[in-house]
């Protein structure tokens, strides 16, 4: 790189820093975030992509929650858990190495799905959290709470929000039937996390 190009680069970086400061937004994170499980990281080619959504699908005791928690533990810093089902058991999270003081749990309670998706979007876009885990039960069809709102449109906004915040968005989903997020990576987990398959994205589509 020539001296002129380096100088131009420095000026651009300075301007970006100023814009970030004006927007009160942290520097965008890039690359991949290790999940804390070597087999999964190898499958993903390093870890879950930052600035993107990843879907972890599995049955009620498949191990998807433990995988999300180990990723939160590995991330360090602040993370958020959108606990739409109000089922996360914090003592187990602590046992997996999660610093509970740095895990924001958001329980939307009986509010509609739009509210939970709005909150997820805000958390993903903020850039304040390394990982945002979304554990929501979405019905098929229009999203409850907004007439005619398409779940796909709402979910696309989540992808854009994750990009904006440079956040690792982990979407926990049942194996079949629920709306699918526009995820860069989709993992299928079974048998308490002993079997993990990569459906799309990441490395070469193997199973661990």
């Amino acid at each position: 790189m020539s001296a002129a190009a380096r100088s131009q680069q420095a000026v651009l970086e300075g301007l970006r820093a100023q814009i970030r400061e004006l927007e009160a937004r942290p520097a965008r994170r890039e690359g991949a975030l290790a999940s804390g499980r070597a087999a999964v990281d190898s499958l993903l080619g390093g870890g879950f992509p930052r600035g993107a959504l990843s879907e972890i699908a599995g049955g009620p005791a498949s191990g998807k929650t433990a995988l999300a928690l180990s990723t939160v533990a590995a991330a360090g810093g602040a993370s958020a858990w959108v606990d739409g089902r109000a089922e996360l058991y914090p003592p187990a999270a602590r046992a997996l190495g999660v610093d509970l003081a740095r895990l924001l749990i958001f329980r939307p309670g009986g509010r509609d799905e739009v509210a939970a998706l709005w909150a997820s979007e805000a958390l993903l876009a903020s850039g304040a959290f390394a990982v945002v885990v979304m554990d929501l039960s979405l019905a098929r069809g229009p999203v409850a709470g907004r007439r005619g709102a398409s779940p796909d449109a709402m979910l696309r906004r989540l992808r854009a929000a994750a990009e904006q915040g440079g956040t690792v968005g982990l979407w926990l989903a049942p194996p079949l039937g629920a709306p699918r997020v526009p995820a860069a990576v989709r993992l299928e987990v079974a048998e308490g996390g002993k079997r993990v398959g990569l459906v799309r994205g990441g490395g070469d589509g193997r199973a661990a």
Binding site: A101, L104, S126
Partner: protein, 510 residues
Amino acid sequence: MAVQLDLAMGPRAPRVLALHFPALPLQRALAARGASALPAALVHEGKVVLANGRARAAGVVLGSSVVQAESACTGLLLLPGDEAADRAALIGLAESMLALAPSVEPAFPEVLLLDASGAPLLAPPGADAAGAERALAERARRLAARMGFRCRAAVASGRGVARALARAGREELAVVARGGEAAALAPLPLAVLELPAEVESRLLALGVRDAGGLARLPEGSLAHRFGACGPAAARLARGEDPSPLTPHVPRGLPEERVELDGPVDRAEPLLFVLRPLAERVAARLAGQGLGASRLELALALDPRGEERLTVPLARPGASAARWLLVLRERLGALALPAPVTGLKLAAVEVATVGAEQLALDDRPEVQAALETVLARLASRFGEEALFAAEPVERWLPEGTWRAAPFSGDAGAVVPRTGGGSHGDDGPRPTRLLSPPRRLVAEGEGGRLTAIRLEGRVHAVLALEGPERLCGEWWSDPFRRDYYRARLEGLGDCWLFEDGDGTLHLHGFFD
């Protein structure tokens, strides 16, 4: 740092930063109406007593009648005087300045005196004493400007000296080194010393017109002619003023108000006038080391009535910019029943916060982003929807944690193999059902072979347990035998059998 002792000279005068707010009543009245760019005059008993630069440039003369002033300047804003509001404004400024100085004294009607002894602590690295004091004065002036007030500053040894130099207004910012006070005061007119009117007029009659002239008079003759006032005035003129400050102690929570020039029925213009209000409340809180955890915005409606918004904040803070993000959202969602004629913003719930949360100039970006999103969510969903989990020493599984305010600050991480609150308990599920779901057990020869859940039968593929959890006789006695069961179609589940033999599904090892 070496401490200088000056025993032979008696007590050393403290270093004081004086801020003089010229025409403070007019500045206050304009700030309260959010109209600082207009030509304006303050009126008392039908006469103009103060006028801003724009009004004076248009021909408004002090002492003229209202009619004369209005005919001299089209569009002149005439404002009534309000002494109580002027005092409150100076006190508000004093409270905000506590962020910069250990003690602040309001010297009514227009001056604040700040203890400048801590200036080196706030100075940039490598700054000398004068540079540190200049930096302190500049910060104080910036803070005042953020609150909507303009002031002149002077740093000197002694409260009276600093006050006189600031009032003289020869420079917008003057720093007089220790020992240079008499020379700095010498050319200034007697009026800046704020002597008793009778003393001043008699000195003027004697031909003493400036502080230098007064300083040269022999103390004996001054005492003879003016009593104790005379030598005191001469000492002040010589820059000898060791009297300490009388610090202001804040009482009550800050609130600021603004009256609008005309009724407003849209959120955007309201936000525009809300900004300086928020800046003032935030600065006053920050000065006291406090952050608001709840704000109240009262909107005065036209022709009468009031709309009140209570705004919870996720984290206590004193950052007006963060508050405005939340207020923008709340105002945007509000259907105004009538146009608004005035606003009042108050911090109704506060907490002591650390310097890193006060957010004056140097908040890290991540912290700002965190606070913003927490405030937005708390505003929409309520504070109870957002929390961090805190371990509790209990045996009842659903009682082993409680919700605590989320700060984002690191806590103690204790990686463990089990998940309960007690040291020797077994593995815990990642998901806990509330309430537990009742199961129907199916067995053969005393052995559990399957369970029925919501009409579906799941074969038991493996079973570990029991782990007996019981106790808490003092509050909520219970006895449960827990099992980890691998169920066909579900996976590893956490079941318990209670005291009367009923089986429940309590969680998933997901």
